[in-house]
């Protein structure tokens, strides 16, 4: 190849101005590397082109430079933040090199760590909230259970008290009825009252009982004021003395209050007496244990 002809073929200008095709460019680059004359011709044309461009220039808008700089400064800050985020992640450069990852890889890893940290934060927050709720719930359960226990026992004692009151009320009612009955009997002009006093057989001389005998219906009521307490297996028995003969008027137990005990109907009697007999009574009175007696 004749170098002079090659240089004069227009290839130099064609190459520099970007008009040469792929094959021409490759060939020219090889020629430049091999032949200093070709390289010199290229340099010479490039310089003249550059110098020529300096004359009669147009000027761009004044704000273009600042726009370019804000764009490249964003590029720079992105690069810097990538680098610093890698460092702030606390990953020593040695380890980063060993893992063989690019700066992008380190970045992904640190952002993954951030995600993990966030997840961990959320998980621990939820766990903490759950523990607090559990403790609160347990405490409340304990508190309410104790409250319940207290209220239940209070309720139970109230129920008991109410039952007692009701029972007591019934007792009082019964007792009141008995009093009323007794008062009615005492007010009744047809009622014969027989006061029975202690005999010499009676260990307690203050013993006293009353018999109310309805002269119309012949019903007999007994009111015990005071009698010695009978032993187990013993029971008092009321007798009516009819024409000198004792007639059974029924057995009775001692009880509190003014209770009038209805005894057997006695159509006719001159006196009444009470003996202490074996439980259930006897057909005939035991005279040694005749404790009280009174004439009609």
């Amino acid at each position: 190849v004749n170098i002079g002809e090659y240089i004069s073929s227009g290839i130099v200008e064609s190459y520099v101005l970007g008009l040469a095709d792929e094959t021409e460019r490759k060939e020219f680059e090889e020629m430049c590397a091999a032949h200093p004359k070709v390289r010199a011709a290229r340099d010479s044309f490039e310089i003249s082109l550059e110098e020529n461009a300096k004359f009669g220039q147009l000027q761009p808008r004044a704000n273009v430079k600042s726009k370019i700089f804000s764009a490249i400064e964003m590029d720079l800050s992105t690069v810097q933040s990538q680098l610093s985020s890698g460092n702030n992640g606390g990953i020593p450069p040695v380890i980063r090199n060993e893992s063989g990852s690019s700066s992008g890889g380190a970045n992904e890893r640190s952002s993954a760590a951030v995600v993990r940290m966030k997840t961990y934060k959320w998980q621990s927050l939820i766990a903490a909230a759950a523990v607090v709720l559990l403790v609160l719930s347990t405490a409340l359960n304990f508190y309410f259970f104790n409250q319940y226990k207290r209220y239940y026992s209070e309720y139970q004692s109230l129920v008991t008290a109410q039952t007692e009151l009701a029972a007591h009320n019934q007792v009082m009612e019964t007792r009141l009825l008995e009093y009323e009955k007794a008062v009615d009997m005492m007010k009744d002009p047809g009622m014969a009252m027989v006061k029975m006093s202690a005999t010499s057989n009676n260990p307690d001389p203050t013993s006293a009982t009353m018999v109310f005998w309805d002269t119309a219906s012949k019903d007999v009521y007994l009111a015990v004021s005071k009698l010695p307490k009978p032993a187990t297996g013993e029971q008092y028995q009321l007798w009516a003395l009819v024409d000198g003969k004792p007639v059974d008027a029924g057995v009775f137990d001692m009880k509190d209050g003014p209770g009038m005990m209805k005894m057997k109907n006695i159509p006719k009697a001159q006196a009444f007496a009470i003996t202490l007999e074996k439980r259930g009574g006897s057909p005939t009175p035991t005279m040694e244990k005749l404790y009280v007696m009174g004439k009609v």
Binding site: E13, S14, L19, Q57, P60, R61, I68, A71, D75
Partner: protein, 184 residues
């Protein structure tokens, strides 16, 4: 125009390239101050719309900053590399659909109102490379315009001008040889 010495740093091309590759913003600022006019002139010779030409200049300098690593001094001077980036970006813009549509709209409004958008356009025939082109014969000038400023391949030019491909190649080569003489 004398530059005040000491206040503005000057670099050799080698220094400038080394600094740019190490992301030195001061060197990039120097690059812009020294080359924006030349590159904008080339862009404005291809793109009629001043707004678009300024946008393309911005895009070109951002690309220079981002692609400086790929610049190989063995293949040519820094200015040549930047000039080709500017020329390619301009031709791509002119050929884009959005630019063609906007120019159609401009053409319609121009025909309705005299002045207007035309005032935004600058007479570029008397500056830089264009001025040199003016000295060429008309048949050569048309081909250089199609090849250099419009980016058509020799085959496309042969079709557009309806002349044989060989003739296109010969005429362009002769025109380039003459350009070299004019530039000296």
């Amino acid at each position: 125009l004398g530059k005040p010495l000491g206040t503005i740093a000057t670099y050799t091309e080698h220094e400038l390239v080394t600094l740019l590759k190490s992301r030195d913003t001061r060197a990039f600022s120097y690059l812009y101050d020294n080359y924006s006019g030349s590159l904008y002139t080339v862009i404005a010779q291809i793109i009629d719309d001043i707004e678009v030409a300024n946008d393309v200049l911005q895009e070109v300098f951002i690309n220079i900053w981002r692609k400086i690593e790929s610049y190989d001094p063995m293949k040519g001077r820094l200015f040549t590399w930047m000039l080709n980036i500017a020329r390619n970006a301009s031709i791509d813009t002119v050929r884009s659909k959005s630019y063609q549509n906007s120019q159609k709209n401009l053409a319609i409004s121009d025909s309705n109102e005299t002045g207007g958008a035309q005032a935004e356009q600058v007479n570029i025939d008397n500056i830089g490379f264009r001025k040199v082109l003016e000295r060429l014969k008309k048949e050569q000038r048309v081909l250089i315009d199609l090849a250099y400023f419009k980016g058509y391949t020799h085959e496309e030019i042969a079709e557009i001008e309806d002349i044989p491909l060989g003739t296109v190649k010969t005429r362009i080569r002769n025109a380039l040889m003459q350009l070299r003489e004019y530039l000296k």
